[in-house]
């Protein structure tokens, strides 16, 4: 466990040194100014639009950060001799665990930084409500699952481009799964419904994890919801980590 934390700290420090991290921060700062403009263009709903656009921006920029950063760093370590150094000092299991924890920390740190900027803007435009803070919890859960999926794809494919595409496609698929299932269940062709249901329940349930549309109106789900989604994400992460570990142990470096 100690070794895993040592790898996590190294990954965290390395992640913060990357230009990508600060590039995403810069992009988010630009996005915040866009949010202000969107808010001004929405008479009557300014506060809601400002809150919603900010949370959506944090999610999208966080997605770009964790997926690209993880896939590129994995490839970089593989191409340079860093991976060999890591594996000569740490076990493969600890290396993978450290990678996951390190990127979870990066994600958390990013959410903290962007959250501060976001809350500041909300305060400035008198749109702040404390419930938006709960939105960060759900964003963290969503991005955590995505980190683990990217790790699985990194272990599975040697090409970083394929890993990137797979991670992003999986994210899009899990985002679109719920409305797609709803449309299929309302349509005339009900033969494919069981297949869609199977896919929907296998993919991460982003629809349930997402509470952006609730918190922007100052509404919150029950405490049991927070507990259940946290547990669901933990189990999902563990499952993905096991798959990644299985593939990683089989690979030759």
């Amino acid at each position: 466990m100690r070794e895993a934390f040592a790898v996590a700290v190294l990954n965290f420090k390395q992640g913060l040194r990357e230009k990508l991290f600060w590039g995403v921060i810069f992009f988010f700062a630009f996005f915040l100014s866009l949010c202000v403009l969107l808010g001004k263009l929405s008479p009557g709903e300014t506060e809601k639009v400002l809150r919603n656009a900010g949370l959506s921006g944090i999610e999208l920029s966080g997605l770009v950060l964790v997926v690209f950063s993880l896939v590129l760093s994995f490839k970089k370590e593989e191409e340079s001799r860093f991976l060999e150094i890591y594996l000569s000092n740490f076990s493969r299991t600890n290396y993978l665990s450290g990678k996951v924890i390190g990127y979870l920390l990066i994600c958390l740190f990013y959410l903290l930084l962007s959250g501060l900027g976001y809350i500041l803007i909300l305060f400035l435009y008198k749109s702040f409500i404390w419930q938006v803070a709960a939105g960060f919890y759900s964003l963290f859960l969503k991005l955590s699952i995505l980190i683990c999926f990217s790790l699985v794809f990194c272990c599975l494919f040697s090409s970083p481009i394929i890993s990137l595409f797979c991670s992003l496609s999986l994210y899009l698929a899990s985002e679109a799964a719920y409305p797609a299932l709803k449309i299929v269940s309302l349509g005339p062709n009900r033969v494919t419904l069981p297949l869609f249901k199977l896919i929907y329940y296998l993919l991460p349930n982003m629809n349930k994890l997402d509470i952006k549309s609730l918190v922007v109106y100052g509404e919150l789900p029950s405490l049991s919801f927070f507990f259940s989604t946290g547990l669901y994400t933990l189990v999902y992460i563990l499952f993905l980590w096991l798959i990644a570990r299985f593939i990683f142990l089989k690979r030759e470096y």
Binding site: L38, L41, S42, P43, G44, E45, K48, V49, N52, A53, S56, E59, L172, E175, A176, Y178, P179, A180, K182, I183, M206, N207, L209, D210, K212, S213, V216, Y217
Partner: protein, 275 residues
């Protein structure tokens, strides 16, 4: 080079005016729902802004403009039914003329099905019916709005006026009597009593008017004729309005409550009592 870029851009801007066709398209809702995933609410905001910008656009045909604006707000409110102001813009702000107002009502009634707890939507429907002159319908929706959470108190107080305008002061009287029994606040009771007295007098005078018509077979020319016929000892005092009078056009008792309306009616010869 910077200068070339600047002037180049200016030349392009001034020399070539391309007649680009504008593309008025709103994607089907099903596709949008799939494509937006958990960003449905954000997507709704984008269409809301599109709707706001569409209000400022120039169209040759007014109804096409109404359609275009409403389509954008329709998508926005379908993706996020809580965007209440979207109903306001598409149902009230752009609704002008009989056809436009009817379209506005249609839009708002659709929104009412999606959003049953927002008092503003039935209130706006009532407002549109009021504009169309259908006071009974207006009062029906105001009553619906008054019973929803967070509805302001005035929604309860304006209903007798609409019943009166619809030519049904008896319903207004019943409404106020019911309201008096359900209210405990002395301040509210005070204005209820005041309005109650006012509408009671109208109902009483209308009853006397009916008796006059039954006796003589025609409508009297002045309210004082009721007194002359021995049906009335005295014309009651109008504490709420500016005095009761007989509208000979409809043969109805009215109150000089709305001065501008009173003057208009006086000009058109409808208000003999105003003279």
């Amino acid at each position: 080079m910077l200068g070339f870029m600047f002037f180049g851009s200016r030349v392009l801007e001034n020399k070539f005016s391309l007649k680009k066709e504008e593309f008025f398209y709103v994607p089907p809702l099903n596709y949008l729902k799939v494509a937006s995933g958990s960003f449905q609410s954000f997507c709704a905001d984008i269409f809301y802004i599109r709707g706001i910008l569409a209000i400022t656009e120039q169209f040759k045909d007014r109804m096409s403009w109404v359609d275009w604006v409403q389509k954008n707000f329709e998508v926005a409110t379908d993706l996020d039914p809580k965007l209440t102001q979207g109903y306001f813009f598409a149902g009230v702000v752009i609704a002008h003329g009989e056809e436009g107002i009817k379209k506005g009502i249609q839009f708002l009634e659709r929104g009412l099905k999606q959003n049953t707890k927002e008092w503003q939507i039935p209130y706006w429907i009532g407002f549109n019916y009021y504009q169309l002159g259908d006071y009974l319908k207006a009062v029906e929706f105001y009553e619906q709005a008054a019973h929803l959470p967070d509805a302001p108190g005035f929604l309860k107080s304006i209903q007798p006026m609409y019943y009166y305008r619809a030519g049904r002061p008896d319903l207004g009287l019943l409404y106020l009597q019911g309201l008096r029994n359900s209210v405990g606040d002395p301040k509210q009771l005070e204005w209820i009593e005041e309005k109650l007295k006012w509408i009671q007098n109208i109902v009483y005078l209308e009853d006397k008017l009916k008796q006059f018509k039954a006796l003589y077979g025609y409508c009297p020319e002045r309210i004082e004729d009721l007194k002359g016929a021995g049906l009335l000892e005295e014309i009651p005092e109008d504490h709420f309005g500016g005095g009761y009078y007989l509208d000979t056009d409809n043969c109805r008792i009215k109150s000089k409550f709305n001065l501008s309306q009173g003057n208009k009616e006086a000009k058109s010869g409808g208000c003999k009592g105003c003279e």
